[in-house]
């Protein structure tokens, strides 16, 4: 591993505070993982003690945090070169790389073992696979090697609802994998629209993101193609006994907006040239890239909305719209 990042020895004058260690766990990613994991757990409609359900969600969150710490340890050299990430604790020198590595390994073991002992070994196995996939397959291999890094690596972010489902029901039926497929297909449009207006950052860091490797025009086309595949998949839960009428309405209307925004990105000039005014203001984009920013922002809203609708429907016990595959749940 020539790019071993623990060699980074930036020292900071400010001592590490507990908030720095929390930042190592990527709390924003954790909150998304907790949300999707909880949706899987509740949608399973299986009897589980509330405390064990909470422990399962906690283990998913800690496992995600551990992956984040391992990612920050290994990627410190890349993070130091990018505006969005150079303030992270390891590249900023507030926490040593070895400390981030130890924390990641210990929390990984703790979360997996606790999930297994307290809740379910199937869920624990899936959690262990997710951590391994994110920290090793994505971070150490895919990210620096291929433009398909976030497409394949997206599996790690897509698995938490499956883990939640397994924790509650002790099995992973078709509908659990459907939730996984929704997040998996959502990932390319989400990350590539972000990459379209920060590709100079990725280029500087040597990360082969799609706009850097294939160019902006190709990325815009691929975003639209993935959106065409993503939106119909979002509608499927309404026909497999998972989502109700409300879900179908939200997924359908939101999906239409998603497609319109993806279409506008394809026609736009987003990512065609780096904007020198962007330095230090990552999310301020010039008019040409506004469409990419709109899709990026809406993709977060859309995913949140469809999972929230599924969650609410499951909690309220609302009937499914249609079940064409009996036994899917």
């Amino acid at each position: 591993m020539a790019t071993m990042t623990s060699a980074i020895t930036v020292e900071s004058d400010s001592p590490a505070r507990w908030q720095d260690y929390l930042q190592l766990l990527k709390p924003r990613v954790m909150s998304l993982v907790v949300f999707t994991g909880a949706t899987g757990l509740v949608c399973a409609q299986a009897p589980i003690h509330p405390l064990l359900g909470a422990v399962a969600i906690l283990c998913i969150a800690v496992g995600a945090g551990a992956s984040g710490a391992l990612n920050m340890w290994y990627d410190a050299d890349i993070d130091a070169k990018m505006r969005r990430t150079r303030g992270r604790p390891v590249p900023a020198g507030r926490i040593k790389g070895a400390e981030a590595l130890s924390m990641g390994v210990i929390l990984s073991l703790l979360s997996v073992m606790f999930m297994g002992v307290a809740v379910s070994w199937l869920a624990a196995g899936l959690l262990a696979f997710t951590i391994f996939f994110y920290a090793v397959v994505y971070t150490m291999w895919l990210k620096r090697w291929t433009a398909q890094n976030i497409v394949i690596g997206g599996l790690a972010g897509a698995l938490p609802p499956v883990i939640g489902w397994a924790a509650a029901a002790g099995e992973v039926p078709l509908n659990a994998w459907l939730l996984c497929a929704i997040i998996f297909m959502w990932t390319p449009a989400h990350f590539w629209s972000l990459a379209l207006y920060s590709s100079d950052d990725y280029e500087k860091a040597g990360v082969p993101m799609m706009p850097v490797v294939a160019g902006a025009a190709s990325t815009r086309r691929q975003i639209f193609v993935y959106s065409l595949l993503f939106v119909p998949i979002c509608l499927v839960p309404a026909f497999t006994g998972l989502g109700g009428l409300g879900y179908l309405a939200v997924a359908g209307a939101g999906g239409l907006v998603f497609l319109i925004l993806a279409w506008r990105v394809m026609l736009s000039q987003a990512g065609d040239s780096a904007d020198p005014r962007l330095d230090g203001r990552l999310y301020d984009v010039r008019a040409g890239a506004r469409d990419a920013r709109n899709l990026f922002a809406f993709s977060i809203l859309y995913l949140t909305l469809i999972f929230a609708t599924l969650l609410v429907e499951a909690v309220l016990g609302l009937p499914a719209f249609l079940n064409l595959i009996p036994g899917a749940v």
Partner: protein, 63 residues
């Protein structure tokens, strides 16, 4: 006999500046408290999970 007067150019009472805590000490204290809270929470959680997991069976043991 009276005490000699204090020199006029030195104020009788200098305002005392409270000692500032060392940032290193403050940060370490914060980390220790966070770690302690984490460990206590974990111990309580293990206890509660044990009660929940064994709760249904604990009365089935032979007397």
């Amino acid at each position: 006999m009276s005490e000699p007067d204090a020199p006029q150019d030195i104020p009788a009472e200098t305002p005392s500046i409270p000692p500032q805590p060392d940032p290193m000490f403050k940060a370490r204290r914060g980390r220790n408290i966070a770690l302690a809270l984490g460990l206590i929470t974990f111990a309580i959680l293990v206890f509660l999970v044990t009660v929940v997991r064994l709760g249904a069976n604990v009365l089935d043991r032979p007397f």
